[in-house]
Symmetry: C2
Subunit: 350 residues, 2 copies
C-alpha cells in the first residue's frame, strides 16, 4: 500500500533527524537522551511528521525546509505519550512495557520533560533554514499547540475525576479538538503549509480542513481500544473502560441504555482504576466483572457501530473539503498520501 | 532588611505579570490555569525573577524589558517544583501539601506540562518588546537552561537509583551546576544582562560569575533539609535522607566515617523510600531507625559544618568576583541587592 510505504519512509527520515538533535557527547547526561529515544525507536506510525512533510511537499516546499520541524512534532508526540502513559496508568506502549513501568515514574516524568525541553532549539535553528518570518510563525503554532494539548488533557482528567456523565457528543468533539486534533493534525498541517510558503489565511484554512480528520482519528482510537487485536494494537485493551474515559462510544451507550443499566454503569464508572494508587485507599476499584458489564452494555447498545459511523462521516467530510481545496495543486505522491488519509484513519488497526 | 523587601517587591510584580499571561476566558480549560497558579501564589522567595530584574536594572535596563521574561523564569521554576515533588515523593511544598498529594499524580504531571507550554508565548512576544536580536538570545538561553536542568535531574535520579556512592565533591558540584545553578542563577542573570543590552561575551562572563552562588545556594538547601525549623522551611525535613540524595553532606560523612559505619550507611542507602511505590514490592524500605542512623553519622562526622564552610567559601568567591566585575556600575538598589545575595544565600532559613 502506497500510504504505508510513505509513512515508513517518513519514519526513517525522522528517526535520523532526531538522532542529529541529540548532543554528540552524552557522558554527563545520565542516560537522558538514550531514554528519550526509547519510544521513537519503537514502531510508531510517524503520522504527524508524515502529515507535515506531505503538505509541505504537496504545496511545492522542499523536504529540508520541514524535516527538522516534523521531527520536533514526533518528539513532542512521544513526550506526550510518556507523560500520558503515567497519567493513564498504562502498561503497554507499542507492544512493550511503558517507560514508567520499566524505569519508574520519577525517571519517566523527567524524560518527558527533557523531550519537551529539546523541542525549542531546532525550532530556533529554523531561522537559518527557512528564514525568520516562517520560523517565528512555526514557533507561534507550536506554542499554541502545547497550550491546547495541556488544556484538553486537563478537561479529560477532570471529567474522569468528577465521574460526571452528562456530556453530549459535541462536548466530546470539543475535547478531542483540543487534546488530539491540535497536536496531531492541525499543527502538523499548519507548520507544513508555513514551511511551503503559504500565507496566513491559507494556513488557517488548511488547519480548519483537517479538524474532522482529527476527530475521526480519535474515534477510531477509541474503537480500537475496545475491539483491537491486542498484538497489533500494542496498547492496553479496554484501558479506556478501566480508566472511565469519556469516549463517544460510552456517551452513546449511556444515552440509549435502559435506566437500570445506565444506573449500574454510572455506579461502575464512579469507581476508580485499580492502578490509581492515589485513590486506592479511599475508593472502591473497578473489577473485571465491572468492565465486562460495560463491554456488554456497549455491545447491546451497538455503540461501536455508532462510533464507526461517526468516524466515517468525519473522514468523508475531510475528504470532501480536501478535494474542494486542493484542485489546483499539481499531482504528486504527497497529495496522494493526503487523499488516502481519510480511508487509513478509519480503517487502521493500530 | 533591604534584600527581603526587594524580593517581596519583585514577587508582587511577577505575580501580577503571571496573571496577565493566562487566558482571560478559562471556561474550556478544565481548571488548568487555576492549578498552574497554585504554587506561585503560595509564599515563594521569587529569587530567580529578582535576579533577572536586579541585573537588568543595575546595568541600566528598564523593568518592562525584563519583567515578562522574569515571570517566565518563575513559571518555569514552579513547573519544575510540581514535577520534582512527584519525582521526590515530597509531601510538603511552601507549608502546604504538594500538588500531586492534593490532586493526584495525573493532574500534577499535566499541570507541570501546561506551565512548560505557557513559557513560549511571552518569550516570542519579547520580539515586540525588546527587539528581535535580544528576544532570540533570550530564547536560546531558555532552551539551553531547560536541557541542562533535565540532564541534571536525570544524573541525580540515576545516582539515587543505582545507590552508587563513589562520588567525590567535584561530582556533586558538576551535578548542582546542571540541576540547580543553570536555571536558578545562570539563566536569570544572563537573560537580565541580555535585556539590558549587554554583548554576548559580557553576558557569558556574568553567567560564569554566578556559578559559585548557585553551588552555595544548593549546599545551603541541603543543610536546611537536615537542620531547618520545619515550619519556616515549608518542605519535608530529612527528605534528602529518605530519598538517598547525594548531598555534599552525605558524601563527606561517607568519606570520613569508620569502615563499619560506612558499610552500615551504604546498606541503608541501598534501601528504597517507603513512598516509592514502584519499588515497594521488590525492595526493602528505609525505616525511621535507618534515617536516624544516617543523621547520627552525619553529626559524628561534623558533615553539616563541613558543608556550611564549603557554602561560605563559594559565596565568598561569588562576592569577590562580583566586586571585581561591577566596579564601573553606577550605585543603585539593584546593585546593592546583588551584593547582599552572598550573605542571604548562606544565611537563609527557607
Amino acid at each position: 500500500m502506497r500510504l504505508t510505504s510513505y509513512l515508513s519512509e517518513c519514519r526513517n527520515l525522522v528517526r535520523d533527524e532526531l538522532r542529529t538533535m541529540l548532543p554528540p557527547d552524552t557522558r554527563w547526561t545520565g542516560g537522558l537522551y538514550e531514554l528519550m529515544l526509547e519510544y521513537p525507536l519503537r514502531y510508531g506510525k510517524a503520522l504527524r511528521p508524515a502529515l507535515s512533510i506531505a503538505i509541505c511537499r504537496a504545496l511545492g516546499g522542499c523536504l529540508s525546509a520541514i524535516l527538522p520541524t516534523a521531527a520536533v512534532l514526533e518528539l513532542y508526540h512521544n513526550a506526550c505519550l510518556v507523560h500520558d502513559d503515567i497519567t493513564d496508568h498504562s502498561h503497554q506502549r507499542r507492544g512493550e512495557p511503558t517507560l514508567h513501568r520499566k524505569h519508574g515514574i520519577p525517571i519517566a516524568v523527567n524524560v518527558g520533560d527533557g523531550m519537551l525541553a529539546l523541542v525549542m532549539q531546532p525550532l530556533l535553528e529554523n531561522i537559518e533554514r527557512v528564514g525568520l518570518g516562517k520560523a517565528l510563525r512555526i514557533l507561534e503554532i507550536i506554542a499554541r499547540m502545547a497550550r491546547e494539548t495541556a488544556e484538553g488533557q486537563m478537561i479529560e482528567l477532570n471529567w474522569v475525576r468528577s465521574a460526571r456523565w452528562d456530556h453530549v457528543d459535541s462536548d466530546y468533539v470539543r475535547l478531542v479538538y483540543k487534546k488530539t486534533a491540535w497536536y496531531s493534525f492541525l499543527a502538523p498541517i499548519m507548520v507544513g503549509a508555513v514551511a511551503a510558503g503559504q500565507a496566513d489565511l491559507e494556513v488557517r484554512k488548511l488547519g480548519h480542513i483537517t479538524i474532522p480528520l482529527g476527530i475521526a482519528f480519535q474515534i477510531q482510537d477509541d474503537v480500537l481500544n475496545l475491539s483491537a487485536d491486542v498484538h497489533a494494537y500494542g496498547k492496553d485493551s479496554f484501558g479506556d473502560l478501566w480508566e472511565g474515559k469519556h469516549t463517544l462510544i460510552l456517551i452513546h451507550a449511556l444515552r440509549i441504555a435502559p435506566p437500570d443499566d445506565k444506573l449500574a454503569a454510572l455506579r461502575i464508572l464512579a469507581k476508580s482504576q485499580p492502578d490509581d494508587q492515589a485513590n486506592q485507599s479511599c475508593c472502591e476499584c473497578k473489577s473485571h466483572e465491572d468492565v465486562r458489564f460495560l463491554r456488554d452494555l456497549i455491545e447491546r447498545c451497538d455503540s461501536i457501530h455508532y462510533a464507526r459511523d461517526a468516524a466515517q462521516q468525519y473522514a468523508n467530510l475531510f475528504r470532501r473539503r480536501l478535494h474542494a481545496h486542493s484542485k489546483t495543486w499539481p499531482p504528486s505522491v504527497h497529495k496522494d498520501f493526503l487523499y488516502e488519509l481519510a480511508d487509513f484513519t478509519v480503517n487502521r488497526t493500530h
